[in-house]
């Protein structure tokens, strides 16, 4: 396949950046999208130019590093996959492909297509954990947990922190990511103990970092490679409201959280 690529090039965090057009020829439809990028980069290196910088690590859909915004969609045209799971057979010979970095104020571009997603780590540091040592492995049924809750919690925990939800949202909102992290704990007895403090601390950090608000458009859910559902957002709103109305006043940052 012969393709035209329009790729965002930016030297460093403070430079302006622009789109540069490249041609790649004889790409196998069976190669992956990232292999196509590798072929482009090899040709650039041979020509003595800087290769296009992009994030990647596992290349099997589990680390969430491969953050490319392809033809107007995070991770390209297929549903429920990361960029490294995208194959060139999804495109047609002669296609023009526009490749951009995630765009959000809390995700500044570091270089070319790489963005800084430290903001997500900061949200986790604000409360996405259990603050006691959980000790050894307990007997399987020592704490009864309804199957449905175990399943929902596991679904929420499958979020890989890729940031596609933020990239897809017209408001650059991180509600899907934060709600998945809040839900995976809130659904289990061990996580319930600190649920009120957790949801308030994580939402406060999300707002402080400058992510947008949720308009319930559903773009995040449609683009999430792990199919995290927006029912998690409703659960987070519920947890948040109950913690504000029902629980004692929470002092964020007063210790623990």
């Amino acid at each position: 396949m012969d393709l035209t690529l329009k790729i965002w090039r930016q030297k460093n965090a403070s430079s302006k950046g622009k789109f540069v057009t490249y041609k790649v020829n004889d790409i196998s439809p069976n190669s992956s999208f990232l292999e196509m990028m590798d072929i482009l980069n090899e040709s650039l290196v041979v020509k003595g130019e800087d290769p296009v910088a992009f994030d990647h690590d596992c290349r099997e859909g589990i680390c969430g590093a491969c953050s490319l915004y392809i033809n107007g969609r995070p991770h390209g045209p297929d549903a429920a996959i990361t960029t490294c799971q995208l194959h060139m057979r999804r495109f047609k010979d002669g296609d023009t492909i526009v490749i951009e970095p995630w765009r959000a104020r809390p995700f500044p571009v570091l270089r070319d297509l790489i963005v800084d997603r430290t903001s997500f780590d900061k949200i986790i540091q604000a409360g996405g954990y259990i603050s006691v040592n959980t000790g050894g492995i307990p007997d399987a049924n020592a704490i009864p947990i309804p199957k449905i809750n175990a399943d929902l919690s596991m679904d929420a925990a499958s979020c890989i922190g890729c940031g596609a939800c933020v990239a897809a949202c017209k408001n650059a909102s991180a509600m899907l990511f934060v709600s998945a992290k809040v839900s995976q704990f809130a659904l289990l007895p061990q996580g319930k103990v600190e649920a009120a403090e957790r949801v308030q601390a994580m939402v406060a950090e999300m707002d402080r970092l400058g992510f947008g608000n949720c308009t319930n458009t559903g773009a995040c859910e449609a683009e999430c490679p792990k199919e995290i559902s927006i029912t998690n957002i409703a659960r987070m709103n519920r947890e948040f409201l109950c913690s504000k109305i029902g629980a004692p006043k929470v002092k964020i940052g007063a210790g623990g959280f």
């Binding site: 329009k6 408001n171 659960r235 709103n237 519920r238 409201l241």
Partner: protein
């Protein structure tokens, strides 16, 4: 002060105000439809009289103003924050699968707001402070609000502006009811699909019902 509220609290206030506005629209529409009754506007005028004199309704009118103002101010504030969250836009965007009208809430909202001014000047302020011809119903004098409405809707441009306005209200309402429930944390595997359907039904019935009035008055 609203700046200090969390994003979720702001959305909860919007949702509560929005739901209240929907309930107001339903009451407003039920009264308006009375004007289509072939009784010399009697039922409509009696209902209008009740609305401007009943003390409970008069108190609720202030709640309604408050709700409108909160909904509009927080809506604009949220939108500004949302724009600021993405200072650099994409070259190609908008291909993700989303509910269509949800992307245009601020735009449909602003159309509603702009023409609301016209609506208030033409009917609400007239009813409150203007001179209105009176009619006799059951031997008593009542203000003839009905004739005011009918006279206005004799003009084609006026009818067209109203229809345009109400279509945008319909667009806004399409992403209103179910979105408000989601903001309040009310999501359920059984009932959420029903709420989606109900949202669309409400949008069509409310906007359609209101549109019926200027159109039928103009035709007759």
């Amino acid at each position: 002060m609203a700046l200090k509220y969390s994003s979720i609290t702001k959305k909860v206030i919007m949702a509560l105000a929005g739901l209240f506005l929907i309930s107001f629209l339903i009451v407003h529409l039920s009264i308006n439809l009375l004007i289509l009754k072939n009784d010399n506007r009697e039922a409509f005028n009696l209902a209008a009289h009740f609305m401007v004199t009943n003390p409970l309704i008069q108190t609720f009118q202030w709640v309604l103003f408050g709700g409108f103002i909160l909904h509009i101010l927080i809506g604009i504030l949220l939108q500004i924050q949302n724009w600021l969250a993405r200072p650099k836009r994409y070259k190609v965007e908008g291909y993700s699968h989303t509910s269509f009208f949800s992307k245009f809430m601020i735009h449909t909202g602003i159309v509603i707001l702009a023409l609301l001014a016209l609506h208030l000047v033409n009917f609400f302020f007239k009813a409150k402070f203007g001179e209105i011809p009176s009619v006799m119903i059951n031997g008593e004098h009542y203000e003839d609000m009905g004739i005011l409405v009918i006279e206005k809707f004799r003009s084609l441009p006026f009818v067209l502006i109203y229809v345009f306005w109400l279509i945008f209200l319909g667009f806004h309402l399409d992403h209103a009811f179910h979105s408000a429930l989601q903001s309040l944390g009310l999501n359920h595997s059984k009932y959420t699909p029903v709420a989606f359907g109900l949202s669309r039904v409400l949008a069509i019935l409310i906007a359609g019902g209101f549109i019926l009035i200027p159109v039928l008055v103009y035709i007759s």
